[in-house]
Subunit: 614 residues, 2 copies
């Protein structure tokens, strides 16, 4: 099957290339080919604003540009390769899959454990190729999918990826399309899936020339990034096609397994058939055609479960979404932070609600937002939510980019890990958290436009003006900022880092082998919070197997009364984060536990028990 | 039960009044009472931005204003009465229902036949009281509900009503709250329901001082009328309360039966629990409390059936919506007009699709909109759609405000009436169409601000700049324009006007008494179109009863072959619009019809047959 999009430059072999572009208001469109000999060829007008031309004697590697109305020369908005960056010509590349064996069958959504990584800072080389060298580490940990922060060509060499200007071109400095494809293959060879972060709500501020081609933007809505992308106004069919083909491109041509859709709340769309619903339908069809389902996972600030509800209930049909409420509940509880959006969080009851329902805000009033927020999520399957104790945003959007490892105790890191990995939801880990990486993850860019560079610097300072007592705002434009955000792999295998890694690994193993954890239906979960003590009791069961866990989020050892634990029968401890094995202070929870026993639980620790005979 | 809103001035009897207002950013709020003696009283701050004060010795009829921060003096945004217009003080009025008998039980939604009227031009006096004098005419016609164009206080005395500035105050020049209530009672006494048109998507450009009180508007969206009303941004709870209480005010305090929600497509709202869903829930609750359901009917340009789908399918739960597609299909077919939005219409197949499905555009590409439009509606009950061959918008938004009576032949008017009244949907008639009124219905305003007057004039000229060859754009600001839009009742009872009225009446009778028409489920309807001949064949059946009708939309007599009619058995004619009885040229369709017969049908006519033995 050929999943090449119907736009861009499709190399068909034997020097044949089909060029196609959408530019509904232009009077003439030409392709300028730079090599082997320079050619300027008029494109033919098709219906609905498309232009195309088939050429021969074009070699992969040839550079080309598009000339609009004989006066404006631009790279291809659907370029598959930008070898010299965002402002220079596009490149014809061969993306055919001929001869490639496909034995990868994918994994079920409920088995996903995401490992989010940023290609540029994950390794010293900062390339796709270098990520491959670390796959054994991720595989050993037990994560089942890497999740790559966006790789669409962005300006310069340093960027989180959300300033991408060419949604179809894998970043040149990371190794381009060839590098990405090798990484995907290497993951699949190890039984690991690949999730890619894609941005369909805005384009980067530098190098995106879409406005020259057509009505990609609408003036009906004002988003935080300026004009919204046109998903519901006149001519939106061309815009939608650009992004839907993009999803199919990564999933079909690169064999990627799942897409994480950045900030769907910034996709403004009031149409009767929303773009996201159309996208999920197209992805479902691709899955059917290839015999392997692909998944769409939304980042959403709307707490609107319609996004992840099925089509038959007039939902958008996305497969899952990040639960920010989970993160905020856990973070506020552990750090005591109450600034900004943490105003709305901080009680243990918030965390227990989130564990039971997915959203904390499912309709009630948010003081931070000064409005009611969210709708019902409690009836949804648990695989509809992705949860994390840290991710690129929650770390990187802090002024100093501190990871949890520098904000809470070592013991608390383990409680966090267990809260995430033993939850019924799909866990996401942020690169390095598994060994307690201490490097910050800072915001960095590498724009060429001096005005833009200064604007970003200024914007960042403005954003954190209330925090300036904490120090200087790191300069996003500086190479130092980027370098300081790199992982320090040398420390990963030593001492407490090693113990933490082993603890994460153990949690993932338990998640896999314990039937009561394998059962991800929340109906079989009971969560109680002892608010005063900041102790949480979770019971999970499935097919006769039962587990219960005690979490102490408080920073001191605590004595628990039998009524607070509330168990029957006999229980065997199978994990205790306070054990010396995990570099803890030594466990106080008994190996066996029966009804009526008073126990002491260590500060910032958790114990997991399995029912005897269960 | 007391349905007085929690804002405004609630007169409680014995001179007691409770004032309450929402103004979340103000530091002080005062009530200035003008009579009997002038008083200036500070209001007390409550939670969430509300202010209130209870006063004694206040008589109904007392004038008051609100003083914000001791410097800005304004009428009450939730004023129940503006006796001196939009810029002058509000009035305390007694709206208690004490002693009022309520025997009206309402009518079921499927029995609604709407008669839309504009209070100002419906009669010479232009008051609620004068409407009462015409109720017997409407009752005789058989319409089951009047539908009143908006009555919220607007500037001056001449306005369609969509420039309302005080959503709670019934227009002073119409007779105010007392007049409206008498009209409602008079309708109910005649077994007729009352539908009121309300505007929750914008406020008029003159006299609305809401911006002084709070964040009623948001800058996230740009609507055709400027900034959108804030239904999803910070502080929207106060804004939503203002409008939801307004709906309950008309339905609960004025005993109104249904609300027509103007242009819900201009309500921009991306929240997880949309305003419209919250509104429909509140109205449903009111219906339960009072033992009589109330209905919400949307005007919507979105063709999005989620608006009228039930809550359990994550719809907004509104009861019905206008089908513009029905109007446009019928209008384009009959008039041959193809300009503007009629570009998308004109084939007989469009009308037959709409009769079967509700929307014509249920996902496909619209040339006029240059995008895909709509979603699935075919599975919805037929009472989910309100249909018309004319209404205030379709007549009044033409440069010269021509009614169908001046655009098509007299015979075609009868075909139109039958298409609407024998459809499975809820019919709506526009005042005067039932007797072929020839007066235009023009756009008129009566602003006081000279700049605004000129802007409206200019805007109107700009809107119709392509039609100026048809004549002058009538000046919306002139009293003549208003006067020329009044109905000419003197002609109603004479000649062809009388025959047309009788024909409408007969159609409504048939709709009521024929079981096959009473059954409004579209599953039991079969519609075929003979595109070449512009002839439509409709079959309806229910519980053994069967009807079929032949519509000739072509302007000449036509011969129909048996295969084109496609009937079995014997049929008896029960209505023929070509009959001399209806001032027609004389019928050619046979009284009895059997399979195999060739018939001639008159130009622009319809015949209705009942199955013999059926």
């Amino acid at each position: 099957m050929n999943f090449l999009p119907d736009i861009g430059a499709a190399y068909l072999g034997d020097g044949k290339v089909g060029f196609r572009v959408w530019a509904p208001f232009r009077r003439s469109m030409q392709i300028r080919l730079a090599a082997p000999e320079e050619r300027l060829v008029a494109m033919d007008r098709e219906e609905r604003g498309y232009w195309s031309i088939a050429l021969e004697n074009v070699r992969p590697g040839s550079r080309y540009t598009i000339v609009l109305d004989e006066k404006i020369e631009r790279p291809d908005p659907a370029s598959f390769s930008q070898p010299e960056g965002v402002h220079r010509p596009s490149e014809v590349i061969d993306l055919r899959l001929a001869g490639r064996e496909r034995t990868w069958g994918g994994i079920a959504l409920e088995d996903y454990i995401f490992y989010e990584l940023h290609v540029g800072t994950f390794t010293t080389k900062g390339t796709f190729e270098a990520v491959i060298e670390k796959l054994d580490h991720i595989s050993l940990l037990g994560a089942t999918s890497i999740e790559i922060m966006p790789v669409a060509q962005f300006p310069g060499a340093r960027n989180w990826g959300y300033d991408g200007a060419y949604p179809y071109a894998a970043q040149n400095s990371y190794g381009g399309a060839a590098g990405l494809r090798r990484l995907v293959d290497a993951c699949h060879e190890r039984g690991m899936a690949v999730t890619l972060d894609v941005v369909y709500n805005h384009l980067g501020p530098e190098g995106a020339y879409l406005r020259d081609f057509g009505p990609y933007f609408t003036r009906s809505y004002i988003t935080p990034w300026g004009e919204a992308i046109n998903f519901d106004d006149a001519y939106n069919d061309g815009v939608r096609n650009f992004f839907i083909q993009n999803a199919l491109f990564w999933l079909g041509v690169f064999d990627i397994d799942a897409l994480r859709l950045d900030a769907v709340h910034a996709i403004y769309d009031r149409s009767a058939v929303p773009f996201l619903a159309q996208l999920s339908e197209s992805v479902r069809e691709l899955g059917e055609k290839t015999g392997r389902p692909r998944y769409l996972i939304a980042e959403s600030d709307l707490n609107d479960s319609r996004i992840i509800r099925p089509k038959k209930h007039w939902g958008y049909g996305l497969d899952s979404q990040w639960s920010d409420d989970f993160h905020h509940s856990l973070h506020a509880l552990l750090t005591g932070e109450r600034g900004g959006y943490y105003t709305d969080f901080g009680r243990l009851a918030d965390l227990t609600t989130v564990l039971g329902e997915g959203y904390l805000y499912s309709g009630r009033y948010s003081k931070f937002r000064k409005r009611n927020h969210g709708n019902r999520s409690a009836d949804l399957e648990s695989k509809k939510f992705v949860v994390a104790s840290q991710n690129h945003d929650q770390v990187g959007n802090r002024m100093l980019g501190e990871r949890l490892s520098t904000l809470v105790s070592f013991e608390a890191l383990k409680v966090c890990a267990a809260t995430v990995l033993l939850s019924p939801y799909l866990p996401l880990l942020f690169m390095g958290e598994e060994y307690g990486e201490q490097a910050p993850f800072l915001y960095f860019v590498d724009h060429t436009d001096p005005e833009l560079r200064e604007a970003v610097r200024k914007g960042r300072r403005e954003e954190f003006k209330e925090f300036l007592w904490e120090g200087e705002v790191p300069d996003p434009d500086s190479r130092e900022t980027f370098l300081s955000s790199r992982l320090n792999w040398s420390r990963a295998g030593e001492g407490r880092s090693r113990a933490l890694f082993d603890f994460y690994r153990r949690l993932i193993q338990l998640r896999r082998v314990e039937p009561a954890l394998g059962n991800r239906e929340r109906g079989d979960m009971e969560v109680r919070g002892l608010e005063e003590k900041q102790v949480m009791v979770v019971r999970r069961k499935s097919a006769g197997y039962e587990l219960f866990s005690l979490y102490n989020f408080f920073e001191e050892d605590q004595v628990l009364e039998p009524s607070e634990i509330g168990i029957r029968g006999g229980w065997q401890k199978i994990l205790d984060s306070a054990d010396a094995q995990w570099a803890g202070p030594g466990a106080t929870l008994p190996e066996r536990l029966e009804k009526g026993r008073i126990v002491t639980i260590r500060a910032s620790s958790l114990g997991l028990y399995r029912k005897i005979g269960g």
